[in-house]
């Protein structure tokens, strides 16, 4: 798993920067949208409407 890789051989964990935190949260938000199927459809619909 990722956190085990991060711990690595030194037994140290890299301190995260705010950019990494934001990136992570964006990724999680996208993942959550994809998991909740209804919302994806909803968002897709809204995007479609915007294009028209």
């Amino acid at each position: 798993r990722q956190h085990l890789l991060k711990v690595g051989e030194t037994g140290e964990v890299k301190v995260a920067r705010v950019e990494e935190v934001r990136e992570r949260l964006r990724w999680l938000a996208r993942k959550r949208r994809e998991e909740v199927g209804g919302e994806v459809v909803d968002l897709g619909e809204r995007l479609e409407r915007r294009r028209e």
Binding site: Q2, H3, L4, K6, V7, T10, G11, E12, V13, K14, V15, A16, V18, E20, V21, R22, E23, R24, L25, R26, L28, A29, R30, R32, R33, L43, R46, L47, R50
Partner: protein
């Protein structure tokens, strides 16, 4: 390269703790010893919190399903409390804590709410500060896409930051009425973000944790460190109060007659 320890060994080493201090003391001491012990003995702490940094902590926080302190006959710590303890170990920089508190997915905001994605002026770093400065956020459009992460950050801020910052940063959350599930000793109850934040600002204990005493808001106002709080209810406030008084009066009359 700046690093953390993967677990709490350094944090709990009274002889040799050399990490960041919070108000001059080891941040671990903000959690009572008995609770601390239960946290570090818990499965969630050992399996899910080992080796987290401020970015990977988001993975866990995004799957939080309730807030709370300890529960059950043995006082088992909630994942929420374990993650709070992790934050006390990491002592994330201010900008990261604000990101937890106010993160809003750009895609959703740009594409759906604002419509115009192009003419975005302010750099993102400034945005969090602006929310804090404005005093309160637009009603019904709360920031902090991950509400349990938001609650976690609020809890951390109450424990780790300074009084003026605490009021300025947390009060805007008093208009976030999203629901939160709270685990109690016996079961689950429903609360809201604004209620939880109000508890953080006014109570002595929240989620099995003693909150250090912060100066009353009025005192900080007298010292001109804080502006008086303006309720987001605004003009509606008076109206509502009159309505409420009407209801009270009717009740009183009713009880006299009955």
């Amino acid at each position: 390269m700046a690093t953390h320890k993967p677990d709490a060994r350094a944090l709990l080493d009274d002889r040799g703790y050399s990490g960041a201090l919070i108000r001059g003391q080891n941040p671990a001491l903000l959690i009572e010893k008995a609770v601390r012990d239960r946290i570090t003995e818990s499965y969630y702490w050992k399996e899910q919190c080992f080796g987290l940094n401020a970015a990977t902590l988001c993975d866990r926080a995004a799957s939080l399903a309730f807030i709370g302190g300890t529960y059950g006959g043995v006082g088992k710590p909630t994942p929420f409390l374990c993650l709070l303890f992790k934050m006390l170990q990491l002592v994330p920089e201010r900008a990261i804590v604000l990101e937890y508190l106010n993160f809003r997915d750009r895609t959703e905001e740009d594409e759906v709410e604002e419509g115009e994605g192009e003419n975005e002026g302010a750099p993102e770093e400034k945005e969090n500060e602006e929310v804090v400065m404005r005093g309160f956020e637009g009603l019904g459009k709360p920031r902090g896409d991950f509400k349990y992460l938001r609650a976690l950050a609020a809890f951390y801020i109450r424990l780790a930051w300074e009084p003026v910052e605490i009021y300025r940063t947390l009060e805007p959350l008093l208009s976030d009425w999203r629901k939160l599930k709270r685990r109690t000793r016996e079961g689950f109850v429903l609360t809201t973000v604004d209620q939880f934040v109000d508890d953080l600002l006014t109570k002595d204990r929240v989620c099995a944790t003693a909150l250090w005493k912060i100066p009353a808001r009025s005192l900080l106002e007298d010292l001109e460190l804080l502006e008086p709080r303006v309720s987001p209810l605004g003009d509606e406030l008076e109206e509502l109060e009159n309505e409420m008084e009407g209801v009270e009066e009717m009740r009183n009359v009713g009880s006299e007659e009955g």
